[in-house]
């Protein structure tokens, strides 16, 4: 294959893809169906793949979202590599998730809403205040008790199962954002003219060189 062909092919490829919309150029979050103008209603089995909408209403209350934001940031806080979960919209994503009409998400709604209520009850029992209003050390005192299901005491099992599910949703929501992908140094989704295979430092790391 001559290099001329590659160049033309690639430029042409980029032009064609641009008409469909590239990831980087588009805002990272989808719009609600309720936002104007309302798109034509399509079956859930045949949605618009290029311009997606979320065709269901979000159910969590402002109070629930406030607690969720604190908890999401305890799970994924800001550090030198990337911002915290709430900074990149993870609580809103979890609201979108638990509001979806599917069995998995409906079960999660019960787990998350029940868990948030359990957490506030636990906070009040221990410290006389809602979870969102606790000090950092108090947050950790509770989280340390519920962060690992196999080690949680019987009276904390419900909280631990909730925390485990929320951790999965939070890391899922976080690492699928551009900021999260950058944090783990995902490199890809970039059109290129050739595939070069692993560079020498990778082969050395794997003792293949």
């Amino acid at each position: 294959m001559s290099s001329k062909l590659v160049t033309i092919g690639r430029r042409d490829a980029l032009k064609r893809i641009a008409t469909v919309g590239t990831g980087a150029a588009v805002a990272p979050h989808v719009v609600l169906a309720a936002d104007p103008p309302a798109p034509p209603k399509r079956p859930l089995t045949d949605p618009d793949l290029v311009n997606p909408v979320i065709p269901w209403e979000k159910v969590l209350s402002a109070e629930e979202l406030k607690t969720l934001a604190v908890l999401c940031d305890l799970i994924v806080p800001a550090d030198e590599h990337s911002p915290s979960a709430s900074k990149v919209g993870v609580p809103d994503f979890i609201n979108e998730w638990v509001s979806a009409p599917y069995p998995t998400q409906q079960a999660d709604q019960q787990t998350i809403r029940g868990g948030l209520a359990w957490l506030n009850t636990e906070s009040h029992k221990r410290f006389g205040r809602a979870f969102a209003d606790l000090a950092a050390a108090q947050h950790h005192q509770i989280c340390d008790d519920i962060c690992h299901v196999p080690k949680a005491k019987p009276q904390h099992k419900v909280g631990a199962r909730f925390f485990d599910r929320l951790r999965s949703l939070t890391v899922g929501g976080f690492y699928t954002t551009p900021e999260g992908m950058k944090d783990v140094q995902y490199i890809g989704n970039v059109p290129s003219a050739s595939f070069e295979g692993p560079p020498p430092e990778v082969l050395k790391h794997l003792k293949l060189l």
Binding site: M1, G9, D12, A13, R16, I17, V20, G21, T22, G23, V26, P28, P43, L44, T45, D46, P47, L49, P52, V53, I54, P55, I75, P77, E96, A100, Y102, T104, C143, C147, H148, V149, K151, D164, R167, S168, V171, G172, Y175, T176, G180, D183, V184, Q185, Y186, I187, G188, N189, P191, S192, F195, G197, P198, P199, E201, V202, L203, H205, L206, L208
Partner: protein, 590 residues
Amino acid sequence: MPLITGSKTRPSYDVVIVGSGAGGGISGYLLAQAGLKVLMVEAGRNYKPLEETPMLNLPSQAPLRGDRTPDKPFGFYDATVGGGWQVPGEPYTTAPGGEEFIWWRPRMLGGRTNHWGRISLRMGPYDFKPKSRDGLGFDWPLTYDELAPYYDKTEALIGVYGSNEGLENTPDSSPGILLPPPKPRAFELLTKKTCDKLGIPVIPSRLAILSKLLDHMKVSRYIHPDNPKAAKILADHMQTRLACIWATDCGRGCSIGANFQSTTVLLPPAVATGNLDIITDAMVREVTVDKNGRATGVHYIDKHTRTDRHAAGRTVILAAGSSESARILLNSKSRMFPSGLSNGSGLVGRYLMDTTCSDISAQIPALENTPPHNEEGASAMHMYMPWWLYKEQSKLGFARGYHIEFHGGKRMPNMGTFGALGARTNGAYGKKLKQEARRYYGSNISFSGRGEMIPNDKSYCELDPDLVDMWGIPVLRFHWKWSEHETKQAEHMQKTFTQIAESMGGKVTSRIQMRKPGEGIHEVGTTRMGDDRRTSVLNGQCQSWEVKNLFITDGSPFVSNADKNPTLSIMALAWRTCDYLMAEMKRRNI
């Protein structure tokens, strides 16, 4: 790419084809290029890959981060639209007491070719004569050598990358046919190093992806040596296909035509001949026959108006997908054919097969903290393991082989990528969790075995006497039973994958012992071909024994289901059938 005429442009056609996927697409392409007037009838909607493919869209732009739902079972961006495991208004049932068979049905132009895995493996010489080798199942009424030229042509036309390794029952292509395989990824090289020690071959995979541009002049002359007009149409279209850009998942489809889809590779040049009309949203109910028992066309339901229509043709090809083609035949009852069309043998719907599927995922510490680099490549596998234990088969306790597909690397994160992080880190959260995410990212490899199932009497489909779909058409009822050959084969897969993972210093993190019947989406059989009209539905050319102007060119004619994914063989076999059909037309036999 204006594909659809929206209506019939003539009162009668030379050929009416039901279905527009691999089998229907190649049949429509070849017959239209040869100058026949062809009507293609598709049950799903029109689908335009150039406009509808979310090539580089991110998970954060999709509902639920693009995760799987019952409405989009392979994720939001998967090309499949209008269907999946369930099609609204079009149920199917499981016979009481049987295992549940699940049935994948896209309802779209191009069918499954829009989202398929692009794995293009040839069946080998043993695969055509399995009964002669081990006494099980049935032999095909043809040999590998008879189909080999059609494999060459199919690979040249659609574009397949791979290599010739000269391995047992893993055929080489003719020189100059294949495109070069891409370089292996890091995890593929690491796996190969271990497998070399275990005696398991790891070779370049064969995928219908353009690793470089096709040579449009050479290929078009090779495909149409005696038809300059057809060669020009093909060459013109081939130049609009671009080479792989080494990004994005082929399962989304490809707006630049770098992989094989019926909708980007076969239908546009077929329409460009002026000889092919396509109507979509047209659900075929039955094949109609005249008083002499010859097919006269198909009855279909126009889904928009819910009205009954007829498409007339002097030949009918069914390529609706295995099971669906059988359903149409079983529904085509008449006084002359009281048990359904072409069902004198009683075998329509019988010997339904799928692929034996077993998987594990393993975490490999050696892959932790691998320096970041682009590992996407052609999205699917660059390397795979063909079946290697032919000489030891008699000692294994199961009759046939499997190949191994394996995946890994730092691919675009999705909802599942870090799902197990909590358990893996004994409950980490906070900054520690983020450190662990960096460490573990890309250190998992999944191994998937895809093996041959032997046809049996207890796995079949029939009409459900109690239920019709929303179009008034009786639905299918599935019967299923795996034999010990499949369950023992799955056990062997689990043992092998565990051995590979542990030899690499890794640990198995999850297992699927055996996927559900149908989940391989390789269902074939139901109208098998053969040498004897008493024990087969079709003759050695995929022509109905009883209705000589009726042919089937999807996976239904398959006599066995080797571990070689069926799409390439469906197309090669369809090509051979079309050659025969045209020769018979010239001889005025049909």
